[in-house]
């Protein structure tokens, strides 16, 4: 589904964010991406979203080489990928419902079908009763769930999440992870960046560990509690 082959990213100014990273995420697989702040987690996700371009190496998503994707195809490519952000990236000038409906509006779905899908997504994240509210009026956990509903509303094949539980208390964070696992169970490939090792270690999924831009560990089960201390 996602294949990195010796990918390096150096930002203008010289910061080497990723260095020779190679891995493959198979279809339907769920993996965590971990490492300290600045290890390159966000950069890796940005490369997949084509928010940044790699300087070296090759990224294949769904068999397509991202370096060869013409600029005008990027929007259509992004529609196949759902993304959840730490800061939610919600729009506060519209209701919860309209926030979730945005990807469908962009794709030009007929209204009745869009409405149906938005309600299904909101139901899934438990916010159906709050669809008319402004996201500003909701809690951090609820806002994150709106972001998740928006990410899955057009049924992407891949779901990326960048520190989705970063601002949430442990209980809410666990709930969100449970939600992700449910999406994974219906076949969505997932890559979730998180530095919350204690949480993700319990979930027993594949864990990719980045350190200074290099992939230093790729394991199903993480048993390195001594690292937890160093993670912020």
């Amino acid at each position: 589904m996602i294949k990195f082959d010796n990918v390096s990213k150096r930002y203008p100014g010289g910061h080497q964010a990723l260095n020779q990273v190679s891995f493959e995420l198979r279809e339907g697989e769920m993996a965590f991406l971990t490492g300290r702040s600045g290890a390159g987690k966000s950069t890796l996700l940005k490369l997949i979203m084509l928010m940044e371009k790699a300087n070296q190496g090759q990224i294949l998503v769904n068999g397509k080489n991202l370096a060869r994707l013409p600029r005008d195809q990027i929007p259509f490519y992004r529609r196949r990928i759902g993304v959840v952000f730490q800061d939610h990236q919600l729009l506060f000038d519209r209701s919860v419902f309209d926030n979730v409906a945005l990807p469908l509006q962009i794709e030009g779905y007929p209204k009745h079908e869009a409405d149906r899908r938005v309600r299904a997504a909101l139901d899934k994240v438990g916010l159906l009763k709050k669809e008319k509210m402004n996201p500003m009026a909701l809690s951090g956990g609820e806002q994150q769930r709106i972001g998740i509903a928006r990410a899955v509303v057009n049924r992407p094949q891949i779901l990326l999440a960048d520190e989705p539980t970063g601002n949430l208390d442990p209980e809410l964070a666990a709930e969100i992870m449970l939600l992700f696992e449910q999406f994974n169970q219906v076949g969505v490939s997932m890559l979730i960046a998180s530095h919350d090792l204690s949480l993700i270690a319990r979930l027993r999924h594949r864990i990719l560990t980045l350190h200074n831009g290099q992939l230093v560990k790729d394991a199903i089960y993480h048993s390195a509690p001594e690292q937890t201390g160093s993670m912020n």
Binding site: M51, D72, R78, R79, Q105, I106, P110, N154
Partner: protein, 322 residues
């Protein structure tokens, strides 16, 4: 059209032409409504922008109306134009009167008046202030004249009529003063050029006003643009609300200009009619015709769209998710 199950998933929604057109229409009308709603949410700022555009459009529209009226009016200047026929001395008063009657039947002659030599001398004495000069002469040197008002002097008709009249046996010479008409028409041509230049300049002003307003709108919706691009909005999709907003600004400005122009015409109508009445003209000034008014609205909407388009081209590409 049933939606297939999730494997074919997101791409399976209505693919027929009818479905595509319908969803395109739904999407456009939604964005158009959102644009108008957004504008109405900030009524003062919107009103100020519309006022600037309306006033900028008022000047070219006003010039257009003024030129239109002047052109019409100058066509009606035939009533101010007179042809003077100087008759031979041998032509008696009764023969002159008969000629006057006969000339009235000519299709291009609206009015005619016979002035005998005695009458001419009397007029000269009254109006010239040089009455003594004529009294000192033994004989009245003034010829009999017929003063004609042509029905039309448009194109070449004045000159043709003059030629025809000069050939009459009773007529010694015929005279038509076309010079001032020519000067007026030259002046009108010049004014039309000036008006065209001003229209261009003020249209550019509208373009810049809309462009700048849209630039600010883009700036204030930066976060939204980033999100829309992240979830797969194309450049066209992102640009659409701004293009609608620009078009709305232009259209509203056009409506305002039309209304203002109407008010001005209403204010001017009385005084201008009175002024023209002093020149024996029944001409009544007219405002924008329905067709020109619609052209004004179309043009202003187009200017609004174009201003927005330029702004969008310049500023939208720079906003990318980071």
């Amino acid at each position: 059209m049933k939606t297939r199950k999730r494997e074919s998933g997101a791409r399976s929604h209505e693919k027929t032409l009818g479905g595509t057109l319908r969803s395109l229409w739904q999407s456009h009308s939604l964005i158009a409504r959102q644009s108008v709603t957004k504008l109405l949410k900030t009524p003062v700022a919107t009103a100020m922008t519309v006022a600037v555009i309306g006033i900028a459009l008022l000047l070219p529209a006003g010039l257009f109306v003024a030129m239109d009226n002047l052109r019409n009016l100058s066509g009606g200047f035939s009533s101010f134009t007179q042809i003077t026929l100087y008759l031979h001395d041998e032509v008696s008063q009764s023969e002159g009167e008969a000629l006057r009657e006969q000339l009235l039947t000519h299709e291009n002659i609206a009015a005619s008046q016979y002035i005998s030599p005695a009458q001419a001398a009397e007029d000269f004495r009254t109006y010239s202030g040089l009455g003594d000069v004529i009294s000192q002469l033994d004989e009245n040197p003034l010829p009999a004249v017929i003063v004609l008002t042509p029905a039309s002097i448009a194109d070449n008709e004045g000159a043709l009529l003059l030629e025809e009249l000069s050939a009459l046996p009773e007529v010694e010479s015929a005279q038509l003063d076309l010079q001032w008409i020519e000067r007026l028409q030259r002046f009108l041509q010049l004014a039309e050029r000036g008006a065209a230049a001003l229209m261009l300049i003020f249209s550019l002003a509208v373009l810049f006003v809309v462009g700048n307003t849209i630039r600010l709108a883009i700036e204030s919706r930066r976060a939204e643009i980033v999100v829309v691009k992240l979830v797969g909005g194309t450049d066209g999709y992102v640009a659409r609300p701004f293009l609608y907003t620009g078009t709305c600004y232009g259209l509203a400005g056009g409506v305002l200009a039309w209304v203002l122009l109407g008010l001005i015409m209403l204010m001017l109508h009385g005084p201008v009619t009175e002024l023209l009445a002093l020149y024996d003209s029944q001409y009544s000034i007219r405002g924008l015709t329905l067709l020109s008014g619609l052209a004004l609205l179309g043009g202003s909407a187009l200017l609004g769209w174009l201003g927005a388009w330029i702004s969008v081209r310049q500023h939208l590409a720079a906003i990318e998710p980071r």
